[in-house]
Symmetry: C2
């Protein structure tokens, strides 16, 4: 541990022990330097780290303050209880309706998983892209290599070191976002009619890919803090001819948990026993609130059994459509799928992102947004606890910018969303995250935006709509939910 990390750690401990209270002013940089007998610059570094980790915030011309850290929510969602047999995925109409709604102007969009796109730390990237486009000609306008640009694959390989992966750039294939990575991986390791096991609730995009490929899905019970139940998965593997496992073990979408390292290792060992591949979606991994970020399952994989899928859509911006896959032993099949589906990935965008990472812009941006999301998570949890009805259960995300909320049983969030949409606020109904229409009383909320009155009002609006629905239900005791 470096000196500034020690100092930061000491302060963090005191905040945790309530020695410094939420909202209280922390010692000045000079005071800290004196107290710990370190240089001014070390004290500054320590505060930078405390900011990054979400313990402290700086207020201009005033100093550093303890962040109003929200405690874990009082009630977490229960272990999920999805259907215990392979089924076909439905819900395409619901997904389409979510996607279409997101083009409505002036909507407060808490529905889609879009990161903060107005962060000033993205500016250097758009400037690089502007310069590259200015005089682009010849090979810059041509097909990039099928596998992706050399420069970008090198940078991705370097980034992945943080997650414990030691990969050669040739182990990586650049894709049209994480969606192409997931979709190509699925098709590379399965045949129509096969069964794929997933965590549940699960990202609707990968479930729709499962549907499109003519596969069946087996949803595995999942814990809101530790992820997919290894025991349940083991039973499922004994019982069903599962051909692949598709999960998001780090900063999960939608539940926000990060699976403990021991669970990740057990999962890998289990799949080795059954000789099946894991498609690991790591798209939110770099947005973990802890630093260094948690390791991927891929980082423990010595057999090339894990296809790691990720992208810059959540860390930078989704409009670029740049993702990647490290397909392990399935490289040739994934390349074929990549070729027949998109032939190659946009050239200049790859060059631009590679340059941005090389210049250190990626790391700077991630540090900023990670602290921002950590902070806005707590604000959002605070609002939901304050305004939503009693009995509401809330996830406690360890990274990313998505909150999962479980309402009282009778509240249908499709109806809720229809009502809030008319008032300018959208949510993601829970049913999208199930293959079979479960989670009807759940929703996912985006908390990227720094705390603002606009967002608090949106949460109040959702809350009051829920209260309306609750009292309507009470007035109709003869209505039975079918």
């Amino acid at each position: 541990m470096k000196l500034y990390e020690k100092v930061a750690h000491a302060i963090a401990e005191r905040i945790e022990q309530s020695f410094y209270q939420a909202g209280e002013k922390l010692p000045s940089i000079r005071a800290l330097s004196l107290a710990h007998e370190v240089s001014i610059s070390t004290a500054q570094e320590a505060y930078r780290l405390l900011e990054d980790q979400g313990w402290a915030e700086s207020r201009p011309k005033s100093g550093f303050y303890v962040i109003n850290r929200q405690k874990a929510p009082q009630q977490l969602p229960d272990l999920s209880r999805p259907t215990q047999r392979p089924i076909e995925v439905s819900q395409w109409e619901e997904v389409l309706s979510l996607l279409s709604a997101s083009t409505t102007p002036n909507l407060v969009q808490l529905s889609r998983a879009i990161p903060d796109l107005n962060a000033p730390t993205l500016k250097p990237l758009t400037r690089i892209l502007s310069d590259l486009n200015k005089n682009a000609h010849g090979s810059m306008l041509s097909y990039e290599a099928l596998r992706g640009s050399d420069g970008l694959r090198l940078q991705v390989a370097r980034l992945m070191v943080d997650s414990g992966c030691r990969l050669h750039p040739d182990d990586i294939i650049i894709t049209a976002g994480c969606q192409e990575a997931l979709s190509s991986s699925l098709r590379a390791v399965t045949k129509p009619g096969d069964v794929v096991a997933v965590d549940s609730p699960s990202f609707y995009g990968s479930m729709q890919a499962i549907k499109a490929h003519g596969l069946k899905v087996l949803e595995i019970p999942t814990h809101p803090e530790t992820g997919v139940s290894i025991e349940a998965l083991e039973l499922a593997l004994e019982q069903w001819p599962i051909k692949a496992i598709q999960i998001t073990p780090t900063c999960n979408n939608p539940l926000g948990y990060t699976m403990p390292v021991e669970h990740k290792k057990r999962l890998l060992a289990l799949t080795a026993r059954y000789d099946i591949p894991i498609i690991e979606d790591d798209i939110y991994g770099d947005l973990s609130y802890t630093s260094p970020r948690p390791p991927t399952i891929k980082s423990f994989d010595t057999e090339g059994r894990v296809l790691l899928c990720s992208s810059f859509s959540k860390t930078l911006a989704p409009g670029f459509r740049i993702g990647w896959v490290a397909p392990g032993r399935y490289g040739n099949q994934v390349m074929h799928m990549k070729y027949v589906v998109t032939a190659s990935t946009p050239t200049i965008t790859q060059l631009g992102i590679a340059e941005f990472i090389a210049q250190g812009g990626y790391e700077r941006h991630i540090r900023k947004v990670r602290a921002q999301y950590h902070q806005s998570r707590d604000v959002m949890i605070g609002w939901v606890e304050k305004y939503f009805p009693q009995g509401t259960k809330i996830s406690y995300p360890q990274g990313g910018f998505l909150l999962w909320v479980e309402l009282p049983d009778d509240i249908d969030t499709i109806t809720l969303n229809e009502r809030t949409m008319t008032k300018g606020v959208s949510i993601a109904p829970g049913v999208l995250f199930s293959a079979s229409g479960k989670y009807r009383n759940c929703m996912r909320l985006n908390f990227t935006d720094k705390s603002s009155e606009k967002n608090e009002n949106a949460i109040k609006l959702i809350a009051s709509t829920i209260h309306e629905m609750v009292s309507e239900l009470k007035q109709q005791p003869h209505m039975i939910t079918i």
Copy 2:
């Protein structure tokens, strides 16, 4: 016919009748205006049209000259004779090797279908993209609508009027190049195991998509001037359970023909009788040497049976990865495939291309490159006739920038390519365009580049390598080709 078109037509007729000889100076603008009793600006317009149509070229400070127009090649390839039953597609290794070679530096690449990327008429587009990127934020960095940007779909709908299509922007889905359009269309209308009929030789990208989707292909005999044989297709439809037809009827890749309008109509009527969809690849359609460009099959389709696929990869540049599909009655299935595979198409690129078209830049660029390709086709045919061995058969492209060459039977173009590659020149071996390893003695050559010594030398090098191979074969009369 407008006045300037009449004047241009009169001049073109005289060139055709050898009243003006190849390379001869044409009347000055003033002389033309006096002779035809038209204004100076009408005379100028007439010469602009003659340039666009490839009859004349302007030489700076000198005037207009008759282009050295090549006559049709002496010997066209024969009607193709592919395997007469549904088969699985192979050749993935060969395609991969072609794609990988194209990243070799300093290679004279006659192998891949890449347009001229140094045309000055592309500059306004890269400038627009540079400006858009400069201050990009918020929604410009977010997911574009699944269907594609409103602005780009409007412009595409307008462009398609030239090909006889009257479409609403909502009839169009923007894709990651034509490859995603073709691939999504195929998956939307077939199930694994189905049989798809194709023209033959056929674009390797769509055949690899057929392979990836677990489909079988039935290659239909194809005429080098009129395209897929309607009679052969009719017989095939009687005999096999064909579920879709995938063809490139306008400025075909690799043969260069444009199917006559009457054939297009007959083909459409035939599929109506069997109630099967046509996947029409129109990627080279706007590069037809005739103006206005030929109509698509889609333009005659009143039943939504045709899925029209295209892109800007051959008309502008492939590095943008922007294409589209007008899927007719199969819209919902194609949207689902689009969603699960790429989720959306890069945002800023769509905005930029839409702006470029709206400003008239697309039309200006197409006029220039069309004339250029028309001219370089003739130069390339001249070289091949001059340097290649007797008995060589050559296609006579009606648009685009690709030439198909059929060598004496014994020459294997995979070997030929291996040899020319060591000397810095690549060709596309014919075998890539067959599902089953036919066309071993054929190749496809790119003629985008304006005539240059570098290209003439490349053709000479290919020719001398062929002559080498011919004499090696003569010296080994005991060798039997298996």
